[in-house]
Symmetry: C3
Subunit: 159 residues, 3 copies
C-alpha cells in the first residue's frame, strides 16, 4: 500500500505540477460556473430549450411560449463555448508543459496570466464591457497557451 | 527498453489511476456515441447542416429542402454539448484527483456515481424523461466533479 | 532541485509519451486555429454575434445590421465544434493509451493517422470538399480513438 501511495503522489509532489493542478482546477471550476449562470438566466428570463423544462408552467400554449431564445441566455452560452474552445487546449497543453520541466516561476507566470485572462474574459462577456476588453483578454489567454505549446514541441518533438 | 516500459507503466499500475482510466474511457466513449446518434437522426429525419451533405438527394431546390433544423437532431446536439461541458471538467479534474492520493474506495465512489449520472442524463435527455430527471442527473455529476476539485485544491494548492 | 527535475521529466523521457505530447500539441493547436479562422470570416463577412463587437461601425441601426449569421462563419463554427467533440476524446483517451504501454510504432501509427484525419477533416469542411471526404476523415479519427480506448480498457479495466 505505501509503495502504491508513493507512486501515486509522485507527480503531485512536484511543485510545477502542483501549480498546474491548482490553476487547472480553478479554470475548470470557472467554466463549470457558466452552467449555473445559464440556468439562472433561463429561469429568470423564462427561456428554455426543451418542452419538458416548461411543463411546470402549465400545458399546451401557455407553456410553449417559454420555449424561446433570450439574448442574455445566448450570451452566456457563447461565453461557455468560448471557455470550452480555450480552456480545453490550456488543460491539455498545460499538462504536457508542466511535465516538460519548465522553471517553476516561468510556469507560474503562464498559469497565472491564463487564469487571470479567462476570468477577465468572462466579466468582459457577461457585463458586457466595451471592446477590445473581451478581444484582448481572449488574445492573452490564447498567446499563453501558444507559448506553452512552443515549449512542449521544442522539448519533446517526436513525429 | 525494459527501463522505459517500467516508467511508462508506473502510473497505470496504480489502482486509483486504473479506476480513473476505466471511467474516463467509459464516459468519453459515451460522449463519442452522441455523434452516431446525431448522424442517425440527421439521416432518418433528413435534416442536414451542410449543402454538400444533401448532394446525393439531387441538385438545386430538391436538395436544399433537406438543409433544415430538426427538433430531434437539435435535442441530441444539446445533449452532446452538455456532455462536453461536464465531461471535460471530469476528465481534467479527475486526473488531478486520481494523482492526489485519495482512498481507492472513495475514488471509485466518485467515478461510479459520475459515470452513472451522465448515462442517466443521456437517457433523460434523449427519451426524454420528465423533469427533474435530467436536472438531477446533471446536478449529481456536477457535485461529484466539485467534490473532486475540492480534494485537489486542498491537497495541492500552489497559487 | 535535481531530484525534482528528475521526477518531472520522467514521463516526458518516455518515447511513447513524447509522441503523444507531440501529436496532442499539434491537434490542439490546429483546433485553436479555428478561432482565428472564425475571427477572419466574422470580420471579412461583417457578421458578428455581440452588439459590442459592432460598435466601431457606428451607433444604432447602422451597426445593428452587422449582428447577423453568415454561412461561412457558421461553417467554421461547426468545424470548430466538431473538433471539440473529437479532439477532446483523443486527448483524454490518448493520454491513458500512451500510459498503457503500447509499442512505440503502434502508438505512432494511431497518433499520425488521427492527426492526419483531423487535418483532412478541416480542409474537407472549410473548402468544402464533396462528401464523403468529410465523413470519411471524421470516421477515421473516430476509429483511431475507439481503437485506443479498447487497448486502454483491455489493459486497465477496474470498475
Amino acid at each position: 500500500k505505501s509503495g502504491e501511495m508513493a507512486k501515486s503522489t509522485q507527480l503531485i509532489d512536484n511543485e510545477t505540477f502542483r501549480a498546474y493542478a491548482t490553476y487547472t482546477a480553478i479554470v475548470l471550476l470557472k467554466m463549470m460556473l457558466m452552467s449555473l449562470v445559464t440556468a439562472y438566466f433561463r429561469i429568470t428570463r423564462k427561456a428554455f430549450a426543451n418542452p419538458e423544462d416548461t411543463a411546470s408552467f402549465g400545458k399546451g400554449d401557455s407553456a410553449k411560449k417559454y420555449l424561446k431564445t433570450d439574448p442574455d441566455v445566448e450570451r452566456v452560452r457563447r461565453g461557455h463555448l468560448n471557455d470550452l474552445e480555450n480552456i480545453v487546449p490550456f488543460v491539455g497543453i498545460g499538462l504536457l508543459y508542466a511535465l516538460s520541466g519548465p522553471e517553476l516561476s516561468t510556469a507560474l507566470l503562464h498559469f497565472r496570466i491564463f487564469a487571470g485572462a479567462r476570468i477577465l474574459h468572462t466579466f468582459a462577456y457577461l457585463i458586457p464591457l466595451p471592446q477590445p476588453s473581451r478581444g484582448l483578454s481572449w488574445a492573452v489567454g490564447y498567446a499563453v497557451t501558444f507559448s506553452m505549446a512552443y515549449k512542449v514541441l521544442k522539448t519533446v518533438l517526436l513525429l
